[in-house]
């Protein structure tokens, strides 16, 4: 049964204002192109990430955002407060200045960059690749996440190694696994995969790999080819 026969369902959940639908899940059991006898084929679920927060953000969040905006005008593109964690979305051209301000402004003083990690959202056209920096202020005992995006076609993000030397290996790891080029990194080479490895394994279009396992006449396909719940 193809999808055209199915009625267009009303929006399942009222998305919060400002939240964008990043993707849509359909069905239940991950079956494509065969008859749907389950009745779940018409199920649709929107993937809605937390909406940008409105002022007041609460607690120390407003002061931090104000100070950063004063230091780097136009630097903060979006503020998300979710589950008590503050995420600052920063345009990549402002990242180097924002990192320096976040470290050096006395009211911010995020002196440690705990972690850099990449995320691949293939459905977000124009911002497929994300980099999340987890900054820690030991002075004020606070944490903030700085998120930068770049399109798959132009995977360049400025390096923060000049501000946070600890980001050296983290950025190499993110380059290794996502193919994000950190401009200005002193030696952006692969770190965990072999030097001559083709591709960037953590991207969603990179297969997990593996072979089917035969047992008593049946074959269990590798994990990324198994039928799974959507």
């Amino acid at each position: 049964m193809s999808d055209e026969h199915l009625p267009e369902p009303a929006a399942a959940e009222a998305a919060a204002p400002g939240a964008e639908v990043r993707a849509r899940r359909t069905g239940m059991f991950g079956v494509r192109g065969s008859g749907d006898t389950s009745g779940f084929g018409g199920l649709r679920r929107d993937v809605v990430f937390p909406a940008p927060a409105e002022r007041p953000f609460g607690g120390w969040y407003d002061a931090v955002v104000d100070t950063l905006e004063a230091a780097v005008p136009g630097g903060v593109a979006q503020v998300v407060v979710h589950r008590g964690e503050l995420t600052l979305h920063v345009h990549r051209e402002h990242l180097a200045a924002a990192a320096r301000a976040l470290r050096d402004e006395p009211d911010l003083r995020f002196e440690v960059c705990a972690s850099v990690s990449g995320v691949h959202h293939p459905d977000e056209t124009g911002a497929e690749l994300h980099v999340a920096y987890h900054l820690l202020s030991m002075t004020h005992n606070r944490r903030v996440r700085v998120e930068v995006t770049c399109p798959d076609a132009d995977p360049h993000v400025p390096s923060v190694v000049a501000t946070y030397p600890t980001a050296d290996w983290h950025e190499r790891e993110t380059w290794d696994f996502f193919g994000i080029v950190f401009d200005g990194h002193p030696a952006l080479t692969r770190i965990l995969m072999p030097d001559d490895w083709p591709g960037h394994p953590q991207r969603k279009d990179y297969p997990l790999g593996g072979i089917g396992v035969e047992y008593k006449g049946g074959t269990i396909p590798p994990p990324d080819q198994r039928r799974s719940y959507t």
């Binding site: 990043r22 964690e85 960059c113 990690s117 691949h120 820690l136 965990l192 997990l208």
Partner: protein, 457 residues
């Protein structure tokens, strides 16, 4: 020992194989395989005009603390440049986790830093619980059991750190004693979780299983034993002049260096700064336990050793408090009440070994259709986690261990990235060892205590 003069070395991984003349085949290459030191010395003495020697140490070397490759540039016995090569233990755990349910992810991440499995599980599970918004619904007993297991784990991990550190110095007694005591901890783990390592015991929503009978008594006996034995290790090492001579002033890294390079854990605390996430950003109810953060002010390997020693005593204090609390929590739930998240299956010991609990089978097959549905749905499909991202770090024995958990609303993680303290701390190898002696590189790396399973993941 084999030597190659110029030309192409037989080792395909030597830099010269790529064809650059400045690489490994530019000079004379010695392949050292052990017990051939005299030949190396005479060979080096013969006709080596240059003072500069590049030594490739590892990845298979008993003193590099795992499959770590150190590229050392030497002038005489002084290290002028030290570089790390990592990735030899990369297993793709983060990628694999994206293809399994949220609960199955625990089974993968427990194998990363194999000396502190409970911390890997805890940071991942805390992140998932934050995304599920059930942080405050996790039962008290589950939190106390997590703290109990993590603190026992901290003791076993620090024992290995001291044991292997001692072994790398040539102090084999320290190694045998350390591993002997660690075995006591692993026995407790086996009693409580069923496995010595790779437990997958801390699950989203609580822990997998209640405490078995007699486990609190076993933990009490263990604490009593360690109160006797830890001072023995301390007496053997603390004031030992050889130990002090090898460790003091070696691997120096001050507070500014630690912050710039992101070092946490005993290395940071050895600078005198008492940053411990259990105190500063408590999780699992650590704010309700009575313990002290251990610091030292020498910023060297000896300070880190003493901090690990002292932290084991503090962990014993916390373990005692956990045991006292667990005595009053007998029969309390260890999993959230929400049946759409709580892992349903229970295990028990039957005549043919560990398997599904017959009581649970009877319940789902004969008593409750609802329970059967929940069991089936959770085991086959798993639960869905609302979209978003979370980062809940914990204080692992090596420093800040965090999991950046990203969900897109599915039954599987969209992305999990682990901020492993070993990975970050290993960056300090160059700073700690350049300008020192070759033998001190070993001490500096041992004082960082990297676990390559965590570094490479």
């Amino acid at each position: 020992m084999t030597t190659t003069q110029g030309g192409r070395p037989s080792d395909p991984y030597a830099a010269g194989a790529a064809g650059d003349t400045e690489g490994a085949d530019a000079g004379r290459v010695f392949t050292v395989t052990g017990q051939d030191w005299d030949e190396v010395v005479s060979g080096v003495g013969e006709g080596l005009d240059a003072e500069r020697i590049v030594v490739n140490m590892g990845p298979q070397h008993p003193s590099t603390h795992g499959v770590l490759r150190l590229v050392l540039e030497l002038e005489g016995e002084t290290v002028t440049e030290a570089r790390c090569g990592i990735g030899y233990l990369h297993t793709g755990i983060e990628k694999n986790m994206e293809h399994r349910t949220w609960t199955q992810g625990v089974t993968f991440c427990t194998r990363m830093d194999y000396l502190s499995p409970f911390f890997n599980e805890a940071t991942y599970v805390l992140g998932v619980e934050r995304l599920l918004d059930i942080e405050h619904d996790v039962p008290e007993k589950a939190q106390v059991m997590r703290v109990l297991l993590m603190e026992l784990n901290r003791i076993s991990s620090h024992l290995v750190a001291i044991a292997t550190g001692g072994m790398e110095l040539g102090a084999l007694t320290v190694m045998t004693i350390g591993f002997r005591e660690r075995e006591q901890v692993l026995d407790l783990f086996e009693l409580i979780t069923g496995l010595r390592m790779n437990h997958a015991f801390i699950r989203p929503g609580g822990v997998a299983q209640d405490l078995p009978d007699g486990s609190l008594a076993a933990v009490r006996d263990f604490v009593a034993l360690m109160r006797k034995r830890l001072p023995e290790i301390a007496a053997l090492c603390n004031a030992n002049p050889i130990f002090r001579g090898r460790l003091e002033g070696v691997g120096y890294l001050d507070l500014e260096g630690c912050l710039a390079l992101g070092l946490t854990g005993p290395v940071l605390r050895s600078t005198g700064y008492g940053w411990d996430l259990r105190k500063t950003q408590p999780y699992c109810g650590y704010e309700t336990y009575d313990f002290d953060v251990q610091t030292w002010d020498t910023a060297d390997s000896y300070g880190r050793f003493r901090i690990r020693m002292n932290e084991m005593f503090e962990s014993l204090r916390i373990v005692e408090q956990c045991v006292a609390r667990l005595e009053g929590l007998e029969g309390a739930p260890v999993m959230v009440a929400d049946k759409k998240i709580a892992w349903p299956s229970q295990l028990s010991i039957g005549s043919d070994g560990q398997g599904n609990s017959l009581d649970h089978i009877r319940h789902i097959m004969g008593e409750s259709m609802e329970a059967l549905i929940h069991h089936f749905k959770l085991v086959t499909e798993g639960f869905r986690v609302p979209p978003g991202q979370a980062y809940v770090p914990v204080e692992s024995p090596r420093g800040e261990l965090g999991a950046h958990v990203v969900s897109d609303g599915g039954t599987k993680p969209h992305r999990v990235h682990f901020r492993d303290p070993s990975f970050t701390n290993l960056q300090a190898t160059s700073v700690m060892s350049e300008g020192g002696m070759v033998a001190d590189v070993i001490v500096a790396v041992a004082s960082i205590d990297p676990v390559m399973g965590g570094v490479d993941r």
